[in-house]
Symmetry: D2
Subunit: 421 residues, 4 copies
């Protein structure tokens, strides 16, 4: 799928095609799961796969069909309550930590709900739509793509809690990886335009475009690898408070962190890593991931470097095409890339930045209920950039701002070093 196809608010035929593509992809991602796998919630931050399938459907029903398709009849009005995530403007909703209690509706009922909404959407998409309505649908597709990534990270978390260590995807042999040496790439800084420009789709949090002053800086040519992170660990990284932010050190102490999430020291003294392909041996060449912001910042401190700001990251990425390894890969785990220059800015691992998730100057949320999409989360979170191996292809761009709380570890989150020039 080409990103261009998705984000253009073009003629109805193209939008209908995009709609079908995204919707089918969600179903395909869940195809290897049992009804039980899709029902259970393994922690409050995660959601069941069935819930993801239903909630993304609810979005189209609540935001597009009910207000905009005359004569549309809801599949089941109780679903308004069950599958709203956090939209206060759209009514009360099922408590987030109890999403796993929803054994009913069953998977079959949720699939029927999808079919019901898809039929109505197809009807709607037959005609040329007003631009504002088309934009809502494109938003709904990007929303669903975000939930596709969450579906993968959430099912990974669930499976990791089992002594059976089930695999989401076939247990392929891990790819041979021969990483390039880490180099420093120079950037001149200066006055730089940041944020989305143009008519392609972007989330509201990427706007408005505005100038920012940057001092000269350097970025590492690739993300930090597992082998490099092992050196940090061997040097007492998790035992030496001098590398850590205060909140990070508290997390290390109270949660007894000793390694990245999903790493396990086996009886043979070797590290093993739980992946979507089951548990594998640690490959030192692969980009390290499943780090909290705290761990990323501590590593950078240990390495006499720092994390880039989101502006430094974006200025560097702006000239690159958003190409890389995404969720359409056969091997659903980060892997090293050969080659020189600035590598892997897109895909493989999200990169924690040293930027809190604050609004851009002049930021205004979208009008209506979808105004709750991004703006109300702009406190207490950290910006990540670049997409990961679990991100749908075509979904990412240089201006894309992902965000998570600094202690979150279950996303494919790694880091790239920066330093002052």
């Amino acid at each position: 799928m080409q990103r261009d196809q998705l984000i253009q608010c073009g003629p109805a035929a193209s939008l209908a095609h995009d709609y079908a593509t995204v919707r089918v992809t969600s179903a395909r991602l869940a195809a290897s799961l049992t009804p039980e796998d899709m029902c259970v919630q393994s922690m409050p931050d995660a959601s069941p796969a069935k819930w993801h399938l239903a909630h993304t459907t609810w979005f189209f029903e609540a935001v597009v069909l009910l207000p905009h398709l005359p004569g549309y009849r809801a599949f089941d009005e109780r679903y308004f309550y069950l599958f709203n995530s956090y939209y206060e403007a759209l009514g009360a909703r099922h408590p987030r930590p109890e999403r796993g209690l929803l054994t009913r509706p069953t998977l079959l009922q949720v699939l029927a709900y999808r079919a019901h909404v898809d039929a109505a959407m197809t009807r709607l998409l037959q005609d040329d739509l007003a631009p504002a309505l088309a934009a809502l649908i494109v938003l709904g597709l990007n929303h669903e793509q975000q939930h596709q990534e969450l579906l993968l990270t959430d099912i990974k978390h669930l499976f990791s809690r089992s002594v059976l260590l089930p695999a989401y995807a076939a247990h392929l042999p891990a790819p041979e990886q021969s990483p390039a040496a880490l180099e420093w790439v120079d950037f001149p800084g200066g006055s730089t335009e940041i944020g989305h420009r143009g008519t392609d789709f972007a989330f509201d949090n990427e706007t408005p475009r505005h100038p920012v002053l940057l001092a000269p800086y350097q970025l590492a040519s690739r993300p930090v690898s597992c082998g490099e992170f092992l050196e940090f660990m061997a040097d007492g990284g998790y035992r030496r408070p001098e590398f850590w932010l205060s909140d990070g050190w508290a997390a290390v102490s109270t949660q007894a962190w000793q390694a990245p999430f999903y790493w396990r020291l086996a009886d043979d003294g070797c590290w093993r890593v739980f992946t979507l392909h089951g548990e594998i041996e640690l490959d030192a060449a692969a980009p390290v991931c499943h780090l909290s912001f705290y761990e990323a910042a501590a590593y950078a401190e240990w390495a006499n470097a720092r994390l880039p700001t989101e502006f430094e990251w974006e200025a560097a990425a702006a000239t690159l095409a958003p190409q890389g390894r995404f969720a359409d890969s056969a091997w659903l785990h980060p892997a090293a890339a050969p080659g020189g220059g600035l590598q892997q800015m897109y895909g493989d691992v999200w990169e924690w930045t040293r930027s809190s998730y604050d609004p851009y100057p002049g930021f205004r949320p979208l009008a209506g209920a979808v105004g709750e999409y991004n703006g109300k989360f702009m406190v207490g979170q950290i910006v990540l950039r670049g997409g990961s191996i679990a991100t749908p292809p075509g979904h990412i761009r240089a201006t894309y701002r992902n965000f998570f709380p600094p202690a979150a570890r279950w996303q494919f989150s790694g880091l790239r070093l920066a330093r002052d020039a």
Copy 2:
């Protein structure tokens, strides 16, 4: 099923028959549930239905087959860890609050596990067994019957958390109920033998039989009804601390109890009750249930009465056959019984007593791992007597001691009043 058939350690043929009966009953109880219903854990106290099916199977594997059937091969050794409940002597085990994360093994795998163990048990049961081994099997059957009751109460709890209010059993019309007036039945007290006697099966906590001195007392002819409990509520029962034990009043305050568990005040001002048949209108004639010990004790205080001790209850029940409405009923909810004299001592609702769950004088747990079955829980719990609508027929007797913490409400627990003569 006749209780006599079950508990006799008779010839192998009879035991094999009992085994088949109990095992089939468990499967039948789960037959109306989806794989998702059977996988989810709705609170730490409850367990998924799939787990019940697997754990009761594990009991036969761990306690009977592995030590006693030469050549027996475990179905999957990892299940030893997954499906042990609390037997320290039998190794580490999966944490109780995470039983709902076990999407794997799937339901089909658990059913295969049951078939595997059943085949081995059938082989074992072909021959005459040493009495000690037969006793272990009978224990395993009684154990499975207890989990049958828990399967019902746990699925009821799960369904109650859904706005869809699913029904476990077909939505029958509720029976017409015309309860008898409450009468007081006299008992003379004196020196009374308490505890199990004879060779029929009983749990170790019912032994040894020993004499107890009782003052003369009276028991109510039937359990307290919902209508009577409504009077308590109307008189400020949940707002007046003078009726409550201190811990009970703390529970009322911190958990905002205002009615028995599963009751809901509908918009029309009428109480509705969630049952295994879905939500129904409150029937004032039915025995009240889903009370904590605290609520039962507060009601008794309000009624100028008290709860009976477990000895008073047993002395009264000793002469009655253990007949009543059990889990083979069509209507799986307590219902009023007509007639005079001492009614409904067995079935319908468990009756909270005013007895802490302490060991009888001279109590000794069973030898081996099964010694953990009862004895180690003898602190902080309250004795209930008589069985409920969810108890398997044939499972109950006058000396049977059930026990739960005083705040537990999700069992079919009601009360019968007592007073000094």
Copy 3:
């Protein structure tokens, strides 16, 4: 102070003398403390010494003076709220976990409050009082004695939390202790009268006197010593679940218990014990104390014995005078006693029994607000018997029932073994 002087509801002169004696004792117990020591609350279960001084005064004001002394004017009506402990009938009250926030009223104000109430009580005690009123005052004095013990155990807890390990009392040399060997003393059992008889003071929970049937049994001649408890520890006592009740093992695991409370393994490999005289070397001869019920029960299991029931304990103690080492001792820590036969039933350490704190048959609480004194706590607690080194002399008797939750460790609680004859 002779116990007889205290408990008789005799002529006013004697009661006035008792009143003065008890009230002065409270003040004397606090004399060595600073205002800061007396203000702070070290855990929710404990109360500040200043609060104890004020609350015992409030009891006389609220229960005796306001209803019974015409023209009495309260010292400060806001104290009704501040210093009520748990009497629902006497109005709202300051939250228990926040007693340590009461920097105001200051210590001086609380002492003035005591003087104000003492003056009014002295006026009241000049005349002959109605028996019911005299009984309330005697109850108030026994209440204050209970808080004298708590003042000692609570200040001990506070001081134990400091790296400075302050001593409450002068750092005397520990007494030489040469304990007698443990012997078993036989008791015939049979029908035994239990509970208080006569006109002397007793709490309502000691009534009514009633017969109980006991099987023949044996009691150890003295409490378990620290040296014996060290053997249990050396044998893996805190690491072997087979000795523990289920709730006890959970406490061991989650709270990482490895020794009795207040024990500390010093760098030299020797155990040291925090006492009211500061930290001292462990004396193996002294009775072990600061055990939870769980630890006491686990020790007994390990020792192939059991805890006595409260009835067995009382039947054995009934013929002994309540003499022993109490809070008027110079050495405020349990110590071994030489000699044979049944020793140290009173004083030194409270003895956990194997009896839940249930009401006696026919139990009725006192009328009025003081009915909340005991009855409403009759669930979830375990009976202890015999008094401790922190119990005021004259306060204890054979029928006295103390009670604490099974996990409590900050009282002077030890154990005496029992076994079937």
Copy 4:
């Protein structure tokens, strides 16, 4: 005290004078408190006044005297542990939530500790000091000034928890307040230098000075008043999620916020406010304070405005002398100021900005243990600017960055509106 006197690293005589002035001020702030008031900790975020007095002394001992005064002997080496706040490089320390358990050392001992350290510091300050050492002492004085403000806010919190509502300072009549109307003041934006410049003292977090691009903006001429905040409340401010950040709405819901902290709706329907002078009637003219960031942001949203960024604030403040109402005022509560133009940028209330507390480009912490002073807190916090009525005079400046978590309410924190020009 003139700010200029304090911050210059001038000749020893001047520094000695500054030292004496700051140290005496701390003692004077505590003079009206009892030993009990100074010992208790009312919540984990707050510290006892005695602890503040000891900790600020420990700073000079640990950072200045022990490394730099030959022959210095510590007052009590155990204090290193007791009074370290959060400096990992300086060893283990007493747990923060247990600062209130330190009844020992007593207040007298802490005052002796202060005298001991002051004597040694006086000796040290007799000679000319190396600039780096003088800078550490100036840092220690600024550190102590910050704790002076905390001493006030912490004692206010403690007193607010008492039904007696004690007053820290004499109960003066509240000043007459006639506020100016709110006006909008224009600022041109453009490239602006942000951060500290020159040789005067500043914290490391104010550096390095660097240029920032600002769009044209407006600031309100004065902080938001209580009367204006009442309008927000009357318009459903605390009940309408559309004004709130997601985390803020969660705080409103779970903590039941209905008004600013320390406000109480009296029985007469009027709001009353707890202040350092006791409880007073709400003055609608006074600046609103004790708001969380969430409340400040919600108010701004309701008012169709926003919070300024810390850069906008600093650019506006840079030309103003840091004058206003500080902790040397007689009336220790925010009050309205008459007059036009940009008012009350300094003093009265800290102003929440819309800036997360991130490091400035090129930020480097101080070398050594004092490097932990600011840098390690740069995540999860929000910047406040301008000082408050509790800030020591001479302590604030345009570049000063204060920071607290977004839910904190016990500081004197208010807001000033901003909007795009």
